[in-house]
Symmetry: C2
Subunit: 349 residues, 2 copies
DNA sequence: TTGTAAGCGTTATCAG
DNA sequence: CTGATAACGCTTACAA
């Protein structure tokens, strides 16, 4: 079930053909050759100022715009694909803004594909991006298994945000230190005198190498700090569509933990919802911590303590690294941001 | 400051050239002509079952994928552009899901551009989409003035979601009835015995034709219902970056309204935040209503009464209409969904 | 029903 | 420094 081939659609109506402005039109208008125009377009060497000026004038005058399709056939398409696995996650919006920041002054245009948490869709989107001769790819929190990512990276320059592929690497990665972030949360809560801290996270599917996900790293940070402090590890798991129930159960349970550390803000907001609903007070009866520090954390009704990982910065760096790769770098580079804990009222801050 | 032309980047490294599988490769493998393969790809008339089978087999075997760039040069690129003006607005995620729903079984691939509320960026994104020979365009809550949209619609099939351009139309529109929604909120609140109802909305920039925005239509619904009921109209305006202060002022004011009807959920959540912060109780001291019924409304800490407009359905319809247009329809079609009020605790529901 | 061949708008190579 | 010209991979008359 692939989008590659055409359906039996009615034939598309012929357009009125308003005599398109091509590189040839510009060349004629400026009284130069097409290759001269092409060189000006690409800032290639060997064009005199006079020629450049004349060409630019014609381009302006005719409002000429190069065809990305035609460009893509020979050289670059100046298009970068960004694959978002979950458009509902508002944190990703910040990453996108960072990507735009870096790309704005360049000729590269980012275009997004959204895959809705479905692995097969994710893969077919990558194919769609390759089919469109994009010059590079940024994967945001991909769910594809590592070998598949490496496969993709063989075909086009790739940068991954929000995944910690071990060892490897034909591609670059950009992350915050999720292990450190996980530890920091536990240390902070323990400093408050709390001992019964539960980590609330996503049920991992029957997958082999999901060592790489950010939640898994946060979990490792949690476990390592708990162990170091001599506290009992307690992990609660739920699937995406059962978060609400799980949160409710967790909050309502007899031996309710003193604090719940959620793998992401979205889950923490659900925990707050459950507590509100059940009349369990935050932070007096239970403390809640999230991760990502998204835009909803600071609303007073949430006032959620969370780990900030500067999504905008992650996006900026990813775009920067991708351009470097497109320009020829081959050695992998792994960029890491140090997360910082933002304390708010959900932990009594 | 446009992304059209190339920068003085280092020359991109030549790739190892792993002998690309083209339509020609497939033709040779299957022992047929290229045009035969092309016909199979497009489900064109005049191909025998035998030939089709052989071609399909080769395609499968060689894992051939057509180049969208090459296709775009002659025929369609099978790519649809979706222009999101504000990726932070979670409601748009639902629209996107609807678009995906409709497009999944077709050969069209939606690709998103995000413009971050900046009008110039919005226009240059549209250009980028045109440059890439996309087959159609979906504009979500565009800020471009109407003449500009019409201009765009002349160049490629266009559908607009979340805007009410008067009269006109070389393009289709998909909306909920924002006037009706606005009225419904007022009628509901008045039915609760409330009379002092304030509408909290976006400051319109010095723009002529912003009669078209959804907030303006909601405002019209509000005004019309208030007038009909003989109540005093009260409208509070703020810019995007001053919502928090404005909300605070509104909630803290001496003659605080009995209810605040916000143009969108995001603003309503800010109002709830201000009230929470100031110790003003909801719904006892003040009632709050939003619009969009986004995923955060149902969290208990918000429990926000809101107008549902079925974003997913809007997205589905938009994609459907766009495909119809690409297939040749020229008469404009305007699709409208009837909104429904979802009552929650923020109004005592 | 199938095949041949002429573009589509660029870039890149190679002469002038 | 400038200009012909051959690709690039596909669609589409038109011929066979």
């Amino acid at each position: 079930m692939d989008n590659t081939f055409a359906p039996p659609l009615k034939k598309s109506r012929a357009k009125p053909a308003p005599a398109r402005v091509t590189i040839r039109t510009v060349a004629e208008d400026a009284g130069v050759s097409v290759s001269a125009v092409s060189k000006v377009l690409r800032n290639a060497y060997g064009v005199s100022d006079g020629l450049r000026a004349r060409v630019m004038a014609s381009i302006e005058k005719l409002d000429y715009r190069p065809s990305a399709s035609a460009r893509g056939m020979r050289g670059q398409s100046y298009t970068l694909g960004v694959l978002l696995t979950d458009i509902r996650n508002v944190f990703f919006a910040e990453i996108m803004e960072g990507i735009n920041d870096t790309l704005a002054p360049t000729p590269y245009q980012p275009l997004l594909g959204v895959s809705q948490l479905r692995r097969r869709v994710e893969r077919s989107l990558v194919d769609a991006i390759i089919d469109r001769q994009m010059d590079g790819l940024i994967l945001v929190a991909p769910r594809m298994p590592l070998p598949e990512i490496e496969d993709v990276a063989k075909r086009l320059p790739t940068v991954v945000i929000g995944s910690h592929p071990a060892g490897t690497s034909r591609f670059d990665t950009v992350n915050n230190d999720d292990i450190l972030g996980g530890e920091a949360v536990v240390d902070y809560l323990n400093g408050l005198g709390l001992r019964r801290i539960t980590f609330f996270t996503l049920t991992e599917p029957d997958d082999d190498d999901d060592e790489n996900t950010v939640m898994m790293h946060r979990e490792r940070g949690y476990v390592s700090a708990m162990t170091r402090l001599g506290l009992d590890v307690n992990i609660e798991r739920a699937a995406h569509d059962t978060v609400a129930e799980a949160a409710r159960r967790l909050v309502a349970s007899k031996d309710r933990p003193e604090a719940i550390f959620c793998w992401g803000d979205a889950w923490a907001l659900r925990v707050i919802s459950a507590a509100t609903d059940l009349g369990v007070r935050i932070p007096q009866d239970i403390r809640v911590v999230g991760y990502d520090n998204n835009q909803y954390c600071e609303l007073a009704q949430n006032s959620l303590t969370s780990v900030d990982q500067s999504g905008r910065e992650l996006g900026k760096q990813a775009a920067r690294l991708l351009i470097e790769r497109i320009e020829g770098r081959r050695e992998p580079y792994h960029f890491t941001v140090t997360p910082s804990l933002i304390v708010r009222n959900s932990t009594g801050g």
